[in-house]
Amino acid sequence: MILSLAPVFSAGLGAAQEKLRIGLVIEQTGAGASLGAYWIKAFELAVGEVNKGGGVLGRQVEYEIFDNQSKAPVSVSATQKALSWGAFAIAGPIYSGNTLACMPVTQEAKTPQMTGSENWRITLQGDKYIWRMSTGQTQEIQKLLNWVMAERKPKALGMLYVNNDFGIGAWETAKKLLKEKYNTELVMAAACEQKQPDYSAELKKIKESNADTVLLNLLEEESAMFYRQAKKVGLNAFLCTVNTGISVDACRLGKEAVDGVYGTSGYEYSAPEAGCQRLAKYYRERYGEWPDNEFMKGYNAVYLVKTGIELAKSFDKEKFVEKMHSVHITPKIQPNIVGGSLYYDENGELHSWDYLAKVTWNGKEALAKALFAIPPFKGPDSDKKTFVVK
């Protein structure tokens, strides 16, 4: 009698101990380490919160970091390791090249992947297992260009972009948008290398093209280096950038050189959105500085996995996929979600509010302040208007 009950008991114990595993395939070392650090901190917070609140459908969340060394081939092997470990979902990577490399692995394994990358190609590969944690570069650049063309009316627009999938994708997007919507083109465009310390050549190209406005799609450090050198030579052009150029790291490193730069960002710490404000306050109190939007993205990755499972009411991955497409997620559905109103379309592309911000140097630190809130192009909020942030 006792022996025959053993399997029942052991099955019950096994179920209680079973955990929801999330593999964090992230840039823990290498060129992207400073960004990966935000995701690691975000996971520590989010997973702690979720587990304290009872986990996901009764299961505690467990995560493991799989360092991709900021390299595409290592992203592939790191993802494979995470899948072997038993990950229900993969979070990361951040660099677009790394995501493009490892997406086929999660697709083949039919495993959800919450990526931090912004390259426009990612959600157009026919991969139903990928979700973006921030608006893609097509939307971001379009929103930025719409504002620049309407408000600044540039006579000559130039562009600098980082020479990787993130930057080249942005350049392709900008060229296409300028031609199709504004019937114009860039007067100059130059690719910059990662960690490049000198921008003399790029500044020369800007000067000889007479560009009065320069669109930047560089990484955080590179943006700061460019601003510093641009200030050294007294560059007059109006500078506008995607989120990396007005990020916390770009402002921290660029300091007074970032003063006056405008940019778009989804998870701006100054955004008038309760989730952003809550996380910004937490991070400021815990680490003494403002969080980068990578922190918000990493945080949301955990809660989106939770949301998908709760909407599916099971740990079935195909039901997760079904529920997480063409879905509108708000704090009513997932109280801790950051961003307020997130709409995921049929491709896993995120449509949410972005903010146009301006960086101001106050003598001690360079701070980005949200000026306008720009609605998404798709989803329930798409019919709303841009409004001034008070």
Partner: protein
């Protein structure tokens, strides 16, 4: 013309930074037949020490600088005593492998013990633009070029004109003969390693405002400096200067006039050409094979 002058200033100011790191390769090769592939990290570590002293502990700049040089010298001394001295007999390959390991150890050690984030380092000189007849530059660029050039020149004079410098040259040419001449070869080698670390410590404060302070900055710097040393001439101090300036100018001018996307490729092409045509380097001396 003004654009060209501006590009030359930009290329020179970056190239001079490569030079001061490249000197270490030349010095160590000359005196001990050692190639230190942790040379970039020997610049990175003093950068972090400077940040710790000047920015975190808020010590005055001059005191932070002196303490950083002391710490850097100690690092060089320990490197020679604990690693090089024990491996010297094993030959160049052994030392190359060991220093590659040391490079990774220092890099990831700094990342784990301090931070993976990039840290800010203040400009030492003013960065306000100076305009002379439409050429715009900053005094930081000019000061970097002038001061580092003077340092390299003083080092050159030290090696050529002083007794100690001549002893270093003697050790570089033949350790056995130097020993017979009464020179304490091991002491000279130790001195050279300490001198290298002093130079990398000094280099760190010029490099930090431009490259920022991060745990993996040594990889990029070390590689560029190594290429500069090969291009310039691995067996002459002036080779490090010539090589660094050449690399800086080639990068900048190629990016400006050909393509920004392939700036590093042009440096590699130049490296290949030099190895094929003038393997001793632009300012190096051809050595006869025995």
């Amino acid at each position: 013309m003004t654009d060209l002058i501006q590009l030359l200033i930009g290329g020179l100011s970056i190239g001079i930074l490569y030079s001061i790191v490249a000197i270490g390769f030349v010095l160590l090769w000359q005196t001990s037949q050692t190639i230190n592939f942790a040379q970039g990290e020997f610049v990175m570590v003093p950068m972090f020490v400077m940040v710790g002293l000047h920015i975190v502990l808020k010590l005055p700049f001059w005191l932070s600088f002196l303490l950083t040089i002391l710490a850097s010298s100690l690092m060089g001394y320990l490197f020679e005593k604990l690693m090089i001295k024990r491996l010297l007999a094993g030959g160049v390959i052994v030392i190359v492998i060991a220093t590659l390991g040391l490079s990774a150890f220092l890099r990831y050690g700094m990342q784990i013990t301090w931070t993976p984030l990039t840290l800010f380092f203040p400009h030492i000189f003013s960065t306000e633009p100076i305009k002379i007849r439409n050429v715009v530059f900053s005094s930081e660029d000019i000061w970097n070029i002038v001061i580092i050039s003077i340092i390299i020149l003083l080092l050159h004079l030290f090696i050529k004109r002083t007794k100690l410098g001549k002893a270093m040259q003697a050790v570089a040419q033949s350790r056995e003969t130097a020993t017979l001449m009464g020179i304490n070869v091991m002491q000279i080698i130790t001195l050279v390693f300490v001198l290298n670390s002093i130079l990398t410590g000094i280099g760190a404060i010029f490099v930090a405002p431009v490259f920022f302070v991060r745990y993996d900055v040594g990889v990029q710097l070390g590689l560029k400096a190594f290429i500069a040393a090969v291009i310039g001439g691995f067996n002459q101090i002036r080779g490090a200067l010539a090589g660094g300036i050449t690399v800086g100018l080639v990068e900048t001018l190629a990016a400006a006039y050909i393509s920004t996307a392939y700036r590093d490729a042009f440096t590699m092409i130049l490296l290949l050409l030099i190895l094929l045509i003038k393997p001793e380097g632009i300012a190096g001396i051809r050595e006869e094979a025995y």
